[in-house]
């Protein structure tokens, strides 16, 4: 007898018999000749798309093609933060949709991804920042999203060990989203993979797409390192490699690929309860359940596919960390890493069909794709199934750049390294 439903009961039962009954989390599927939908990219977004296609839209002849191991891209190397504290009308409903999906995710997919709604606190340090956060917080509230404005005393109560008294840019307060928090990133990929697998989706690892077959302007299949596969529809969810895969179909995208570094310290007893972002430097931080301080800052700021960054940004981020939290000076950095960000030209994502028939694009997530995983999967699945945008992703169109309907939260224009 095998245990396939995860629960305390099945765990205890298996612990009495050496855990011999667990089935693989997902089958090691081999490619079939044809599918209704092929998703290129076995990251969080691709796996979530496959899951929702099967689960909500009844399309089960789905393959997820992954060139390496699933969850090896940004879903496996991010700072695990989830939040829906966006300003612009094109974004807020989408990220709130994602937040709601996070809130029910574990029961939905029967996998503990440790969705931890410990709060996300954005600090502000001057009146202009405060006003911008009030505007944002109010936009969230008008969209039915939780948001609270904390004054300095409230911040002190919540995170008492910040540098309040000896700061170059003194903390004035913060915008708090209590429902924001963190999620165990790898578990998201594995949980979606397992749930999709159980619905019949083929998750095919070590299968790199090398070409997209286009006949009469219609994409009909892909060439892979494991052979040709035909498909009714092809969805690209390739994150940092979006430009390269799109180029196989002759497309140029409003995207540059940049490197973002992130960091983790040695494990420590818990002392940071909520995700905290510094408003006067490039630094945000949370503490994982294992005890490591997980933090990051700004992108390095140049095009890169190298999955590693450079020392100046390391120093800049940690300098910010020390300015905000001087008690971490003797805590040690354990590991730094770098991922490829599909930085779009306005800092917001794209979920749309392309100019090639049957070819759909999910890209441009910048450094914020993790929190979007469930809604991205749902909306991409909706688009693939219905050929029309999901209502919360209506503004994520490719033609918005031509029309000028950009969604530029930071207001820095068509300069990806500034978003």
């Amino acid at each position: 007898m095998s245990s396939d439903h995860y629960s305390l009961f099945s765990l205890l039962r298996e612990s009495l018999r050496g855990h011999a009954g667990w089935k693989p989390a997902w089958r090691k599927a081999s490619p079939q000749l044809a599918y209704d939908v092929i998703i290129v990219g076995g990251g969080g977004h691709g796996l979530a798309t496959a899951y929702y296609l099967a689960r909500r839209y009844g399309i089960q002849r789905v393959a997820v093609l992954e060139k390496g191991w699933i969850g090896g891209g940004n879903v496996g190397r991010n700072t695990t933060i989830v939040r829906s504290n966006y300003l612009l009308p094109g974004n807020t409903p989408f990220y709130e949709c994602s937040m709601k999906l996070w809130e029910g995710l574990e029961q939905d997919i029967n996998y503990n991804a440790m969705v931890s709604q410990r709060g996300v606190l954005n600090l502000f340090h001057n009146d202009a920042q405060r006003n911008a956060y009030i505007r944002r917080g109010n936009a969230m509230r008008l969209n039915g999203v939780d948001a609270e404005l904390l004054n300095i005393e409230a911040v002190r109560n919540k995170v008492p060990f910040l540098n309040f008294d000896n700061a170059r840019f003194p903390i004035q307060g913060g915008l708090l989203q209590r429902r924001g928090g963190t999620v165990r990133h790898d578990a998201v990929a594995w949980g979606y993979a397992r749930a999709a697998d159980r619905l019949g989706v083929d998750i095919i690892e070590n299968c790199e797409v090398t070409g997209i077959t286009i006949q009469n302007g219609i994409a009909t299949g892909v060439e892979t390192t494991r052979g040709k596969i035909t498909a009714g529809k092809i969805g690209l969810a390739c994150a940092g490699n979006s430009s390269l895969v799109a180029a196989m179909a002759g497309l140029r995208l409003p995207i540059e690929s940049h490197v973002l570094q992130a960091f983790v310290t040695e494990g420590l007893k818990p002392f940071i309860d909520c995700v905290t972002t510094f408003g006067a430097g490039h630094f945000y931080i949370s503490q994982s359940d294992k005890g490591g301080l997980v933090f990051g800052g700004d992108i390095d700021g140049y095009n890169s596919y190298a999955q590693r960054g450079n020392l100046p940004v390391v120093e800049d981020v940690i300098e910010g960390g020390m300015a905000l939290m001087p008690r971490i000076g003797r805590v040690r950095l354990l590991r730094q890493w770098g991922g490829i960000m599909d930085m779009s030209m306005d800092g917001s994502p794209i979920i749309d069909h392309t100019s090639v028939g049957g070819l759909y694009l999910n890209a441009g997530w910048c450094y914020g794709g993790f929190k979007a995983t469930p809604a991205s999967g749902l909306c991409f699945a909706h688009l693939l199934a219905r050929d029309e945008p999901h209502e919360v992703a209506r503004d994520y169109r490719l033609d918005r750049f031509g029309r000028g309907a950009v969604i530029d939260e930071k207001g820095v224009g068509a300069q990806p390294n500034l978003h």
Partner: protein, 1015 residues
């Protein structure tokens, strides 16, 4: 199985036993240092590490493991240590997770064990060991899901409290850190035989060499081994070479300096522990120093890390790496046990037998997993008479707080129970290749050496010695010299005609002869077999690997992430290769097929303080001080940060009780008399050249060709995507000479933009730019009496009358009897106003002068807050309006976009979404009840509509109490705004729970006709 009962039964036993100290090449036994561990006082010697001193004092139990809280001792003698982690020092200097093996002993050192409660000997969470059948790899992914709300409230807090290791300090780190930059031709990393010989060879070639050693002493394994070079003990040979190097002017030697990362362009990150070997740093001295070393060539001579062997209960205190045992004996004069079992799969580990005997220990057994004894093994056994089990393995051990017995399974399958207090284990050596992979390079598997060696494809990186898979001292010395010469040659230094020094002779035969034995487990391990640890700190066992594989986590990255293998503070330095081998066995692949995980910086954990550096607290970022700063301080001004600038926000008087009162007074002073404000921070760019006017036409949306000399004009710049970028006034000072002002925030970006336009887009234009922001102290003098005040200052030859010097005039003038100055008739406040610029050094004096001559007119300085109030009263857009998301049309300036010329942003500004008439456009707002605040960031919804996003029509960008109008006023952006003046709208601020009604009005609240401006 050891659980809570065992813990009780042995809690009263003391395992501490002081051993007599031998001589060691790295310690000074003539001096004694006092230290404490868990409240007990001990002594050690200069040169000791905390680990060697604890061992010398007979302390074996040093820590608890992460998950099962198993008792742990000291495994290694280096930075790879997974077990012996302590909290060092205390209070604000508390350092969690400090590896005892690399902590230098100092007098008064205080250390405490961690991750245990209530104490180390009895740890209540040892019960986790009993729960281990449940607490398998990834168990948490399968449970704790119901009910959903219990995760944050219950499960997670429990897990978080149990997890983690040491405690971060509760207070700000009191120590100072600094950074440093160094450059060299050849950077040699590691000072063992390969490192020293390569440093010597490179230096003799004439190259600039930096030799970095993480340890406090140079010599590497030469200090750990009993080996003779050129008839001297190896460590003495090393000291001779070091003395020689120290006498060379082209060599820098850095000790206590760990090269933690290799970055692009030959950049190496190095952290130097300047004063960690002291109780606290000397005054001014940094605790640590971050070095950025730029090297044309790098030589990795980092040696190797010894592998444990995976066998049941292989984690007990007293089970140590064989190489570490030799280090403790030879360098530190400590014998880690008196009755030893030596367990090896290679000849190198057998050195331990002789070293232990020489140190007075007894060899209880030698276990050699190789099927046949090597000649080295035979020799050693002959010389020592120790019982040798070949083709054997250790099947289990016992002893809760320290190993007491090894169960040896001989080559016939028979168990031998051998009492011991030390098991020295060598599973072979892994080259320490981390630095060779930071650029993404992947190592290759070498079957003969049963490990991964670097596969270098780099012109600027070399490897020598054990790090390169060269396992004997003699070969390492030879290879080091070759590599050192090659690296120097790459930098253009010719190889010397004769080798710089004859290759030294190693006076003994060294063999390695490793035969892989990754684990000593039965094929089908029974449920009851003891845990066999791969990753000690994270408690990952061989069983966990099998379970992960069964669940499909067979990619090495999945295995790592699912089991947390290699993710502890030691990053799996002693675990990773064993884990790969076990995974390969489970998945029936070869080790190369299994692959490796990616090694990332840092090679060793680095204190955040060191990476952050000296810019802390109030010096996190530099200050820019305007020329009147000191004067403003003397006036008691309150300051605000404006980017890097520090600006006077308001100037309180002693009788004023609130900042509002002060700001209102300052505004009234300007509106009714005269005030002044330092506006130096606005960017000022000097623009000269025959094409200057044409250039301005291209970067501004409006026309510039016809601006007369001596006049200024407002200009708006767009980005190429059509959105507003920056604004300011530009004055024409001469035929081909302009001075542009920018906003304070965009001074740098605008300069960059102009240079871009000039150098990249239109290099044919003949124009020059230079910043004059710092050159001029520029002070706004504003108010009905401004002209009267200026008449006291500006030399009388200059006609200040409105007719001669009207609004938007600009001129070079002299003041105070000949002092050069510039005068502009500009107004941000809407009053009769000037900006007077003097060379920056005179700004302070000008402020004082204005106070004196203006006294009779009621002059007062005003700060940025009053400035902001007055610009809102006049409806001038500033930062909150120019937020990068607004267009010229949004700002009410659509009509100034020239149709007659091309300019940056022109085409894209014409896109439909940017010209949509329903875009929120600048309006003014006044609350129906004047004293009800309008809060910036509030949203604008039609009166009576529900507070939901679908009715959201705009927002407030700036607001203030207007002392002039005695009402709150605001600027905001509202759909169809300009057509709606007079309408009442609801101002929603859900964050504060308020809805305020306001009238939509023109954004110009004060003097819309501009009468005062032109007075």
């Amino acid at each position: 199985m050891h659980g809570i009962l065992n813990a009780f039964s042995s809690a009263s036993q003391s395992s501490e036993r002081k051993t007599s100290r031998l001589s060691g090449n790295g310690i000074d036994t003539t001096k004694t240092l006092c230290f404490s561990f868990d409240g007990h006082n001990y002594t050690g010697h200069p040169g000791d590490t905390l680990a060697s001193a604890l061992l010398a004092n007979g302390v074996r139990l040093v820590g608890r493991s992460f998950k099962y809280h198993r008792p742990r001792g000291i495994l290694s003698a280096g930075p790879e240590e997974p077990n012996a982690l302590v909290e060092l020092r205390g209070g604000a200097r508390r350092e969690p997770n400090s590896r005892a093996t690399v902590t230098e002993l100092y007098d008064g050192l205080i250390s405490t064990s961690q991750n245990r409660w209530p104490n180390l000997a009895f740890d209540a969470l040892g019960i986790n060991g009993m729960m281990s059948p449940v607490f398998t790899a990834g168990f948490y992914y399968k449970t704790f899901m119901w009910p959903a709300s219990f995760w944050e409230k219950f499960y997670e807090p429990v897990i978080r409290r149990a997890a983690g290791l040491g405690r971060a300090a509760d207070e700000a780190d009191p120590d100072h850190y600094e950074k440093n930059n160094a450059f060299c031709d050849v950077l040699v990393i590691g000072s063992g035989p390969a490192g020293l010989s390569s440093a010597l060879a490179a230096a003799e070639s004439g190259a600039r060499v930096i030799l970095c050693e993480q340890d406090s002493l140079l010599g590497g394994r030469l200090r750990a081994e009993n080996i003779q070079i050129d008839n001297h003990p190896g460590w003495q040979w090393a000291e001779d070479i070091v003395s020689h190097l120290r006498n060379m002017s082209n060599v820098r030697i850095m000790t206590r300096s760990c090269v933690f990362g290799r970055y692009d362009g030959g950049t190496y990150g190095v952290v130097e522990r300047v004063s960690d070997h002291l109780a606290e740093p000397l005054p001014g001295q940094p605790r640590q120093r971050l070095w950025r070393i730029i090297a044309k060539q790098g030589i990795v001579a980092t040696g190797g890390i010894e592998r444990p062997i995976v066998f049941p209960n292989n984690d007990r205190p007293g089970i140590m790496l064989a190489g570490a045992v030799r280090t403790y004996i030879n360098r530190f004069g400590v014998t880690p046990g008196q009755q030893a079992v030596v367990y090896v799969n290679n000849d190198d580990g057998l050195r331990t037998v002789s070293d232990l005997l020489a140190a007075g220990a007894r060899i209880a057994a030698v276990v050699d997993s190789r099927a046949q004894p090597s000649s080295q093994a035979k020799t050693i056994i002959q010389q020592t008479g120790a019982p040798l089990f070949f083709g054997a393995r250790i099947a289990d051990t016992s002893g809760y707080r320290g190993v007491k017995m090894a169960i040896i399974r001989d080559n016939k399958g028979k168990n031998h129970r051998i009492a011991c207090d030390l098991i020295a284990v060598s599973g072979g050596w892994n080259p320490d290749i981390a630095l060779t992979t930071h650029d993404g390079g992947r190592p290759v598997y070498n079957e003969t050496l049963a490990t991964f060696v670097p596969a270098l494809d780099s012109e600027d990186l070399h490897v020598a010695g054990v790090a390169a898979g060269t396992m004997t001292t003699a070969e390492a010395l030879r290879e080091g010299a070759q590599v050192g010469q090659r690296a120097a040659a790459q930098c253009g230094f010719r190889e010397p005609s004769t080798p710089p020094v004859a290759t030294p002779a190693v006076d003994q035969d060294e063999t390695y002869g490793v035969v892989a034995q990754w684990h000593a487990l039965d094929k089908e391990s029974s449920q009851r077999a003891g845990k066999a640890f791969i990753d000690f700190q994270n408690d990952v066992t061989a069983k966990d690997t099998k379970l992960a594989a069964r669940e499909g986590f067979i990619s090495v990255e999945h295995l790592k992430r699912y089991t947390t293998l290699g993710m502890a503070t030691d990053q799996g330095k002693t675990a990773n290769v064993n884990a790969l081998a076990l995974l390969a066995e489970v998945t029936q692949q070869s080790i190369p097929q299994t692959g490796t995980t990616r090694v990332r910086p840092p090679t060793q954990p680095v204190a955040l303080g060191a990476l952050g550096g000296p810019h802390r607290g109030k010096h996190f970022k530099p200050y820019r001080l305007p020329p009147t700063h000191q004067w403003a301080v003397e006036q008691g001004a309150v300051f605000t940060a404006n980017g890097l600038w520090l600006r006077a926000q308001w100037y309180p008087r002693s009788n004023e009780t609130s900042w509002e009162e002060t700001v209102n007074r300052e505004v009234k002073t300007v509106r009714n008399a005269v005030g002044f404000c330092d506006v130096t921070t606005l960017g000022k760019i000097d623009i000269q050249g025959p094409d200057a006017a044409t250039f301005l036409e291209r970067v501004y949306v409006n026309a510039w060709q016809k601006l007369p000399i001596g006049r200024a004009r407002y200009g708006l710049m767009l980005r190429e995507d059509g959105f507003a970028f920056d604004d300011g006034t530009t004055a024409r000072l001469g035929e081909n000479h302009y001075v542009m002002t920018t906003t304070t925030a965009n001074a740098g970006p605008v300069m960059q933009h102009l240079e871009f336009c000039h150098q990249w887009l239109w290099p044919e234009m003949n124009v020059q730019f230079i910043s004059v922001t710092d050159e001029w102290a520029q002070i706004a003098v504003a108010g009905p009496k401004a002209r009267d005040v200026l008449r006291q200052i500006v030399d009388p030859a200059f006609d200040l009358s409105n007719e001669a010097f009207g609004y938007m005039a600009a001129a070079s003038v002299t003041i105070c009897g000949g002092q050069t100055a510039r005068l502009f008739r500009l107004s941000f406040s809407g009053e009769l106003a000037y900006e007077l610029a003097v060379p920056a050094r005179y700004g302070d004096a000008l402020a004082k002068l204005l106070m004196r001559v203006g006294q009779s007119y009621g002059i007062a300085p005003y700060g940025t807050e009053a400035l902001g109030v007055m610009r809102i009263e006049k409806g001038h857009p500033a930062g909150p309006e120019l937020n990068g998301q607004t267009t010229a049309h949004d700002l009410g300036m659509g009509r100034i976009l020239s149709k007659k010329k091309d300019f940056i942003g022109k085409t894209m500004a014409a896109r439909p979404a940017l010209t949509d008439p329903s875009r929120p456009t600048l309006v003014g707002l006044r609350p129906l009840s004047p004293t009800l605040p309008l809060v910036s960031g509030s949203h604008l919804l039609p009166k009576g509509k529900p507070a939901t996003a679908c009715f959201d029509q705009g927002w407030i960008s700036s607001s203030a109490w207007s002392p002039t109008l005695k009402s709150w006023i605001a600027l905001g952006f509202l759909a169809h705004g300009p057509e709606r003046h007079g309408e009442i709208i609801a101002v929603h601020n859900p964050l504060a729970g308020t809805i305020t009604e306001a009238e939509i009005v023109s954004p110009v609240f004060v003097d819309p006709e501009g009468t005062r401006l032109h007075a």
